[in-house]
């Protein structure tokens, strides 16, 4: 039994299950399948055909590759905007013919010939673009028609002039350079093509026209609603496609100097297959130039290998057809299931054995014994606020709290019946503290650390920290800044509860029980932000100890309170002060008697403690059971406890029925009252502390005027 537990513990310590979900969440994961296909292709065909992967063989294909890549990019750009261009092969043939006719037959200068050929392509693209973009014809049928028409025009001309166009009458050094020269071992076609690829990549990812194409392909209606020129964008993609296909035709002309009726036949299928195999979605909006490059490489290797294997007539086309249908099937399934797969594998529970929970029974001798002292709290703002968190009072006695709507609400002293929106932050403010100058510092979930002046001016202090080397998730951005406190030297220490979940899913982190959180220090003197502790189990409340050299912090899922020294002789040391709490600790704040208040957000249940030692059970539960039905700690009850410097529990306040305060996430003492907040409650409670010092305020305590 103990053996099995040790094995489970080791298994979950050393196997990083959570990484799979994080990788699947990355946007580059879409490239994984094409890369895998490329490797597979190389392995299979490389073993069937000797010398396929040799350098010479690859170089031999490079000019051909440049042409193919241009056509694949043409197809990709149209596909990204949600369309399809079947006329690329015909345009290719047209440009080839036009180039040869103008140059060889009519003797035009090559610097005029090339732009004219590209212009021809652009014109065919424009026809497509107007019909599809502005007149809203079906892309498939329209380009099929242009495919046939352009092809028949080219065929008519070839019938007439095939011999004449192939006989060069003029010489041009530029043309020879394009045709035969190699720069850095690469043909000119390939270099031009790669330059265009880089340009296209930058346009699609960094420039406005590229974003428009992606937006229109992603959701045509949303793009239209956002005010994008949808019709023009679509039309432009066909023009671009025509130009790229035409350029490919020019290079083909330079390479082979021949116009036959089979030029560019079947090229559209090849390009389409390459684009889809590369991972560009047929539905539009998902794809990249890099995917087009990958797809082009795969298809080029495949088609050349098939030629060398000398399959019987039609065999090559049949194989390409199968590849296309397989790629389309994978694309459809991947797009459909990617998110589902990611959600099902993202939550990755790990092993956690908590110590035995202390007794809480009513009437027991335990310091945590159940009572109902919070039964008769005075209520503030009942039903007017959603999720009041970390109530705090200023020097004038006004009460502030963050809400789920992203506001910081101010209730006016002395009776707290009137209120105003102090500021709107945009995220749920979870931790509040006043500095010496009366500025309100706030940890805002999803945003970071902010300072709000008495004049309501909001300043961002920090929203990113140093990125850790081995984290797959980009953990430099702050995801769930939670609670903060200010050291005597002005440094701000704050907790980030988890780097793996957003505010709306914070409870799901309980199912993982992994150390996903960290404590971060912001130094206003240098403006720097550094992570000082990581791998903490949902670090939550932070409060300065009275020695001015250390702070207490609570780890919610770890059910413990620890102390960390940031200055003095014990700098950098960490010590657990309260190891096994009966519940899940949240915020910590100073009390007037020299102790510290600690809110319990929920209570431990034997069944959940047991589930924590069964990561497999939780994993299967997350996969099988609907999220609303998941087993969680019991967060419908909470309490407030008080502990002293040594971690001894000196007081315990319960709302035993959970009537007013089912989940207590924060509390603050001020002039003899204790103010209670709850992150999913709709009221602030106010409890008269028996024997509480009616003059004590937290500010005074921090300024050293009181203890």
């Amino acid at each position: 039994m103990a053996m099995r537990e040790t094995l489970t513990r080791l298994r979950y310590r050393f196997v990083p299950d959570h990484i799979l979900g994080e990788i699947l969440a990355k946007s580059w994961i879409d490239n994984a399948i094409p890369v895998a296909i490329l490797i597979l292709t190389l392995c299979v065909l490389g073993s069937m055909i000797p010398g396929l992967v040799a350098v010479g063989s690859l170089l031999g294909m490079s000019a051909q590759f440049g042409e193919l890549l241009l056509v694949v990019m043409a197809m990709t750009i149209v596909m990204l905007a949600g369309g399809i261009d079947l006329s690329v092969g015909s345009v290719f043939a047209l440009a080839n013919f036009v180039t040869l006719a103008l140059f060889n037959m009519l003797g035009w200068p090559i610097l005029v010939v090339i732009p004219v050929a590209i212009l021809c392509g652009a014109l065919v693209g424009l026809v497509n673009g107007i019909l599809i973009g502005y007149l809203r014809l079906r892309a498939f049928l329209t380009t099929l028609v242009t495919l046939i028409i352009v092809r028949s025009i080219v065929d008519m001309f070839i019938l007439e002039y095939a011999v004449k166009v192939a006989r060069p009458t003029t010489l041009s050094r530029i043309w020879d350079f394009i045709s035969f020269k190699r720069v850095l071992g690469m043909p000119v076609a390939l270099i031009v093509c790669l330059a265009i690829a880089i340009l296209a990549h930058l346009t699609l990812t960094r420039l406005r026209p590229g974003w428009h194409i992606m937006a229109v392909g992603g959701s045509r209606r949303s793009a239209f609603n956002a005010g994008l020129p949808v019709r023009r964008t679509i039309a432009m993609t066909y023009v671009l496609s025509g130009m790229l296909a035409a350029l490919a035709g020019v290079f083909y002309a330079s390479r082979l100097n021949a116009a036959g009726s089979d030029t560019g036949v079947g090229l559209e299928v090849l390009a389409l297959t390459a684009a889809v195999v590369g991972g560009n979605s047929l539905g539009g909006g998902r794809g990249s130039v890099f995917k087009a490059v990958l797809g082009a490489i795969i298809i080029l290797i495949l088609s050349n290998s098939l030629l060398r294997l000398s399959l019987p007539t039609g065999g090559t086309s049949a194989v390409l057809g199968f590849v296309l249908i397989a790629a389309v099937a994978i694309d459809v399934k991947w797009v459909k299931h990617r998110d589902k797969l990611q959600t099902s594998v993202y939550v990755s529970p790990t092993f956690l054995a908590l110590g035995k929970a202390p007794e809480t029974a009513e009437g027991s001798a335990s310091p945590y014994a159940l009572n109902n002292l919070l039964k008769d709290v005075e209520l503030i703002g009942l039903g007017e606020i959603d999720g009041p968190e970390d109530p705090i009072l200023d020097a004038a006695g006004n009460l502030y709290c963050g809400t789920r709507h992203g506001d910081i609400i101010r209730f006016f002293a002395p009776d707290f019946t009137s209120k105003e929106v102090f500021v709107h932050t945009g995220g749920h403010p979870l931790g509040l503290a006043f500095d010496r100058d009366g500025n309100l510092l706030a940890c805002v979930a999803g945003m970071g650390l902010y300072r709000i002046g008495p004049d309501k001016k909001i300043t961002r202090l920090s929203d990113q920290t140093n990125r850790s080397w081995l984290s797959v998730i980009d953990d430099s951005r702050m995801r769930l800044a939670d609670d903060l406190d200010i050291a005597p030297d002005g440094r701000i220490f704050f907790s980030e509860a988890t780097i793996r979940f957003d505010m709306s899913d914070w409870m799901v982190d309980a199912l993982e029980a992994r150390g996903n959180g960290r404590i971060i220090c912001y130094d206003p003197s240098t403006g720097s932000t550094r992570t000082i502790m990581d791998k903490l189990r949902f670090p939550n409340g932070i409060t300065m100890a009275r020695d001015g050299e250390s702070f207490f912090f609570a780890e919610t899922w770890g059910c413990c309170v620890s102390r960390y020294w940031f200055a003095g002789a014990r700098t950098g040391q960490r010590e657990v002060v309260i190891p096994d709490l009966p519940g899940y600790p949240d915020n910590i704040n100073r009390a007037s008697d020299g102790g510290y208040w600690l809110a319990m957000v929920g209570m431990r249940t034997p069944i959940f403690d047991m589930a924590l030692q069964n990561p497999g059970f939780r994993k299967r539960m997350v996969e099988r059971v609907a999220p609303d039905e998941w087993l969680f700690p019991n967060m419908n009850y909470g309490c407030v406890i008080k502990f002293d410097e040594n971690g001894r529990i000196t007081d315990c306040l319960w709302d035993s029925r959970g009537t007013n305060h089912p989940m207590i996430t924060s509390m603050r003492e001020h002039e003899g009252w204790l103010y209670l907040g709850g992150v999913s409650n709709n009221r602030i409670g106010r409890y008269r502390i028996p024997g509480g010092d009616p003059t004590w305020t937290a500010h005074a305590s921090y300024r050293g005027e009181a203890r």
Partner: protein, 364 residues
Amino acid sequence: MIAPIRNFIDRIRGNGRHAITTPPMDGVLQPNTLIEDAPLLAPISRPDNLVRRGEEMLFSSGNQLMRINGTTPEPVEAFPHAVNALAASTGNALAIALMDGSVIVRGGKHDGFSLDQRQAASLTCITALCFSGEDRLHICQGSHRNPLSEWKRDLMERNAAGSVWTLDLSQKSLTKIASDLAFPYGILADDKDSLVVSESWQSRLISIDPSGNVRPVLEDLPGYPARLAPQSSGRGAWLSVFAPRSQLIEFVLREDKFRADMMRSIPSDLWMAPSLTAPHSFLEPLQGGGLKQLGVMKPWAPTRSFGLIISLDENFAPVASWHSRADGTRHGITSVADRGEELVAGSLGGDALVSLRHSGGLPA
């Protein structure tokens, strides 16, 4: 050959026998708050086994046999053991089954009958009784592995160890007519001499003919059915459903190691298992949807307990239902008795007798 492969695939995909889906509460079973809003007849500790003998309404509470007159409950008789089940005959006989397996008859043709010890020894978990005429008494035994008070364990062990017996009062003979049932918890004799039994852990009603053939009558109930009672109109029946099925419990029922650990190390009222009572301790399990938001528990929250009474027509098809939902307290209703226009329901988990109005089996 196919079956193990199918079973293996189902286990991975969560299909077939491994599916944890629960039947929807829709149509006739659409939730309402009729039980929660109904007037309280009397607060009683753990009321169970409501039966009507003539004009008299009897029920049990622990080891007490009680009677309710109008709205005042009064004790009738106390027994040495908890009363497990009651049944009344048309001839005013009352059969009483106790926890130790003894069956006693008061009044009627066989007044003073008592099952002898040797026979009673095999009946360790009597859950329901019903008369056929005056001479025959049908007995449901929930499980031969666990007593009635340990029903939760019996479910979690996934037992099908229940049986149905017929006791001939005149010949004092006891015959088993069906076995290997998954906790039979309610019984009703219909006109054609066959018995309708609620098989709790299968969430269904079955019909058992005199030769012992079992045929499902009503399947896929959204909860665990308890006792059946005749409607006063003479047609149709009342079915009390004592706890809901839930996805998470269905899931736990398929996690053998977890369940075994749970049964070994945790007290049964804190198990992730159905419950008769609404939650009252923070040590009980909580599911995500059951979290109080803005101080309110949502009625549709996932729950381990509820109150549900279903009105069935003469073919045992549901026609109407009465509910107490997740945010209520009148949970764990195990028995009802019909007195004309009024249906008295006993909430075993909510310590209450409530009075529901109906006309011909439909809410009035």
